[in-house]
Amino acid sequence: MSNNSGGSLMGKVKGLATEIKTHWNTPAEGKYVPYKEYKDIFIAVGSNYAGSKILEYIGFWASCYLIMHHYKLPYLTFSVIGIINMPLGYITALIWWFVCDNLGFLPKKTERKIYAVYIAMALFGISTIVFDYTSLFNPTSPFITYLNGLEGMNATACFKTFGTHFLYSGWVGARNIFWRKKLIPKFGRYKYSLYSDVIPKCIMVVLIGWLPVYNIPDVATRVWVANLLFATYNVFGFGNVLETCTKSISPNLQERIFVRSYPIKMSHFAHSIIAIILPVFVGMLRYEWADINLYRYIIPITFIAFAVFTMFFAGRIKERIPQPPIEKKVEIKFWDGLFGVLRNKYLLINTVVGLIDSLGNGMLPFVTILYLYTFRLSGLPYSLIVALVSFAGTPPDFLSPYFLKRFSYKQIMIFYQLSRAIGNAAIAAAIWFCGDNLSLCGTICIVVLFFMEMTKTVPTTAGHDMNVRIGDYQMYLSGERLESFAGIFGWFTGPITSFVGLIIPIFLLKFGFNSNWEVLFVDASRRSIIAIPIIVDVIGFALMTIPYLFWDYDSKKQNMVMEVLKRRAEVTQKKAEEEGVSTDGVYTG
């Protein structure tokens, strides 16, 4: 029997090898993707994904090592900048939304008007950087003295930060229209941004490490110059767009799932390997994570290498989904879309959950502090602990189908929130009661993190699945998925979360945390700075179970919704055929 199964296995392997050889350059009948493209996907997506992950080391946020060790910007300043940028964000979001929903293809007159707005914004932004607008005000006026009193800022820095956001929004907006129009027809709607952004992105990655902006002695000047530098860096993207592109790699649903299951998942190994190797190189630097050579050599070299691979193989991945010409895209009326999503009860519940979740906004990244300020990890030990904790989530992934079948979404999410609450409470207790016993405290924290990572996988999978279902439900409600319009909820929650997000930074400031992270080496400070915000987060997680009590969207309802959608597809297809209209892209299930 074992010989038989062995023979059968050998036969399968040989069959697969023959299949791959035969269809290396041309796909099998009914399929669209040749196996050669699988190899390209593996390398291209792997490089794109790893490159985008490396860029997570660079960012204008307090826990970026560059900001933490070199720029040393006051923690509250990031919140202040967020407030300065908030009102303009609402206006630019409207224009951005309009442009993106139309994929950059606008009526000539409208396009000219939007260009004019963007260029005017950019010019105003440049003017604030060149000129000091504070000279227009009385330096002793309450307005100017108020701005001078902001943490890490002064009036000049505030104006320049305000202008930088104008410059950034105008520049990004104008580029968005220009490059979409120019490149989407050639490279498709996902890949185009790589072609327009990769070279300036590489230059910016190098400049971020080499420009000695962090040596500017005056903190307010350092803040606005750093803000300008990082805003310029952010103008250019290097997102994981090739993976997004593979969502439309084939009109064959099975083939699409196959591509996403194998070459895509395997391609993420590149990042896993880098996540282990990179800290080893960092550990060899004299000042480890605090060594500027991390940003001068290690990150630029690694990123540029992956960027080159990405660009070399990007052209070999094709979008193959049947779709109407971009110019013929259906236009959704603004208010219909908006009212449509507001009727979706489940989006509302998610919004409430998100609002409660904002209680923890402004918290320092606990895991970073645990690794760097409690354990002082670097090199291979750092890599191994990070890999160990990350790996904790992998085995339960295999059990996801069972849990998703056996438990309702409501049960899974309530369990998830409670497990976060219990885990975080255990961490807070460990820091509070044995914070100066590093071995004990650290071990408890690692064990709890491991447990929390293990219990995260199934809810995450359930969440992804439910998001698709919510889209189906929206389609049942409004006839469209209205994914863009779902952003309207952020308009309501944004003001609240940005205010709530100030509470913890103000609290941290009181307990000594500002621009110098090394206060975390003081055991007593670590207790106040870490444990108390975690306790606030515990309360948040406990409260987040409440909205889920109202979640009643189950599989039965989903099946019913799908029946309605299928029926709509059938009827509309029949009608279209009767009218002689093309039915390309119709899928009736």
Binding site: F339, S378, N516, S555, M560
Partner: protein, 406 residues
């Protein structure tokens, strides 16, 4: 009676027959009815309501956020003895503050010069009696702090990371504190509380040096005048964070010093070049004298009496991170009097260059192995180095003899 288990993969046991003309309106039981291609009732009013809600939400958020991030320049809290100075937020132009009475800032509307258009208004009926921890936190502008006569309590972390701070001057009538040439001490001179991080700038002005040299360019004379500090013979405790981030190269500790508190000698550094800093602390010396040494300026080793390398005999307590991140420190000797060494006390006092270990490569301990077991040692108190891709603590040389001065 068994409860039926949930099975989310169950198929529908019924087929829904939806007539062609009801496909856009068919309502699934338990879900809201579809609303497709129809105008909304009272759409105008709803639009207005939504716009108003968003406008109010954004305005309120901006208002409260702006109020929240606003800080008064000086903040105080009343306590049983008077007032506690709890927080200082620099306007960006205040280089000297006096902490004696509750103070407000007043601006001169006629003066356009932002560096001088303000005055401090003191209320002498409201004396400041204490200074809270982190009252000044990461300030980069204040150079001089004057402490008034009625300040009875100063937390060791009150002036945390004040990068520009050159001097702390204490009123001579203060019963609990004093200063020695701009360095803060307890009145009895038994505790060194704060050696300002930018004290070297004050010393440079005092001794006539125009600029701060890079490490490689510093002359022996410069090191003696600016980067050498003699802790007075009376001192028994180097306070928490007391000398951290200073640019000292040589520190002379008195025999009689009992405690080096948490982060007391943490990360001493100086400029390496225009781009970066480098560790500065070249060595710690101890001295034994019968003379009353109250002058912190270094003249010669002979003037200090008997001088020897590393930590003083009689030292009992070394706090966590007490001497950490001083990679230029070549030698450590732990006297037999030490009973407690905090976690990471000597962390990162070692580095590798060209395949060679530099810094503290061996921990010299006066006690023998058995006696040292009685010393309470925190985690990772010794520095570590790369060893086969992992980290290994340096070895301990028990029953060591103290190295002689060269």
């Amino acid at each position: 009676m068994s409860k039926k288990k949930i099975d989310n993969t169950e198929e529908l046991d019924q087929v829904i027959n939806i007539p062609d003309d009801e496909i856009w309106t068919y309502q699934v039981e338990g879900l809201a009815a579809p609303h497709i291609g129809k105008p909304y009732k009272n759409a105008g009013a709803k639009k207005a309501l939504l716009a108003i809600i968003i406008l109010i939400a954004v305005s309120l958020s901006c208002y409260f956020s702006v109020r929240t991030v606003q800080s008064d320049t000086f903040e105080y809290k009343e306590n049983s003895q008077g007032y506690e100075f709890s927080k200082f937020s620099n306007t960006g132009y205040i280089k000297e503050i006096t902490i004696d009475y509750v103070t407000e800032i007043e601006y001169d509307q006629e003066n356009p010069d932002v560096t001088s258009n303000f005055t401090f208004i003191k209320d002498e009926t409201m004396p400041i009696t204490s200074i809270r921890e982190y009252a000044l936190n990461c300030d980069g502008v204040v150079e001089v702090i004057n402490i008034g006569p009625e300040v009875l309590e100063i937390d060791g972390k009150s002036f945390y990371s004040c990068w520009a701070l050159q001097r702390i001057e204490v009123d001579e009538n203060n019963p609990n504190y004093c200063d020695l040439d701009g360095v803060l001490y307890s009145k009895d001179m038994k505790t060194l509380i704060c050696y300002p991080p930018n004290h070297d700038q004050y010393l440079r002005t005092k001794f006539g040096y125009e600029t701060e040299p890079y490490r490689a360019d510093a002359t022996e004379e410069y090191i003696r005048d600016i980067q050498t500090y003699v802790v007075p013979a009376t001192v028994e405790t180097l306070g928490e964070l007391s000398m951290n981030y200073t640019n000292l190269r040589r520190i002379y500790l008195p025999e009689g010093l009992k405690r080096i508190e948490t982060l007391a000698l943490f990360k001493l550094h100086e400029p390496k070049d225009q781009w970066s800093n480098t560790p500065s602390l070249d060595n710690i010396y101890s001295y034994k004298t019968d003379a009353e040494i109250l002058d912190s300026a270094f003249t010669s080793q002979e003037a200090l009496g008997e001088v020897y390398l590393s930590l003083p005999e009689g030292l009992e307590y070394i706090g966590s991170d007490a001497v950490s991140y001083n990679q230029e420190l070549p030698y450590v000797y732990i006297p037999s009097s030490v009973t407690y060494i905090g976690h990471h006390a000597f962390w990162d006092t070692l580095y590798e260059e060209g395949g060679e270990l530099k810094g503290v490569t061996e921990m010299n301990v006066a006690a023998d192995e058995d006696a040292f077991k009685d010393v309470k040692c925190g985690d990772s108190w010794r520095p570590q180095y790369d060893y086969m891709l992992f980290k290994k603590s340096i070895s301990i040389n028990y029953s060591a003899q103290r190295e002689n001065l060269e």
